[in-house]
Amino acid sequence: MDVLTLIAKFGIYFIFAFTLSAALLSVTVQNIFHAALGLAFALMGVAGVFFVLHADFLGAIQILLYVGAIMILLIFAVMLTSHIGDASVHTSNRQVYPAMILSLLLVYLLVRQIGKVTWQLKETLTSIDAVEIGKQLMGPYVLPFEIISVVLVVALIGTIVIARSDS
């Protein structure tokens, strides 16, 4: 077994580890700005997983929308709300241990179930490119596409109404 196959086989586990540690960081660190940075890295890791799964278009969308737009919104919210000096405020509540137990229980149950299921796997893995997604979006899925556009517009207007000051 040479290096290339090793990389191809186990490279994704490094991405997994990177993503999970960034995600853990983003839910545990005290400084909320560092949490947002951790989320940015976790999202990039997820985009990496998408690239490995040959969903290039979605990986690009993930980076463009999540890292480029949603993260900016989050960071803006951090900046608009928290005072610059109060990085040391205790940012987690008293339910840390119950929450941990609950999460681990969820992981245990789901993993046990996943082990039992037999998936209906394809013989050959397929990957589809952006052109195909575009055709599908304009063809059979045009209604959900339109609805999501309307929802987006409504949400934008609603956001402006909520965030506008009352003056």
Binding site: T19, V27, A35, L39, L43, V49, L58, W119, K122, I162
Partner: protein
């Protein structure tokens, strides 16, 4: 290629981390961050199943795109609410926002 189960387990772990964050964070923005993690875990499942299983290959990707858009909407509206709350209450710690009316 790695087995499908590993990817799904990874998604479960990411979801559990998100859940843990949602339950423990006091900071509203922290909760939003955790929710984004959970949404991403769901998205990974969509992509993985669209690549591995016999379901139609486009559906997973198309709905993953929809989910990303919805996540963006959720973030935008959520953060607008955060800013509005902060303007009125001068705090964004969930345990301090405890009145129903102001």
């Amino acid at each position: 290629m790695i087995p499908l189960n590993h990817i799904v387990v990874f998604a479960v772990l990411l979801f559990a981390i998100g859940l843990f964050g949602t339950l423990t964070r006091r900071h509203v923005v922290g909760i939003l961050i955790s929710i984004e993690l959970m949404i991403n875990a769901a998205n990974i499942n969509f992509i993985a199943f669209s690549r591995y299983t016999k379901a139609s290959p486009e559906v997973g990707q198309i709905f993953a795109v929809f989910i990303v858009v919805l996540a963006a909407i959720a973030a935008a509206v959520g953060l607008a609410i955060v800013v509005a709350i902060y303007r009125n209450q001068k705090t964004i710690y969930t345990d301090e926002i405890d009145i129903l009316k102001w």
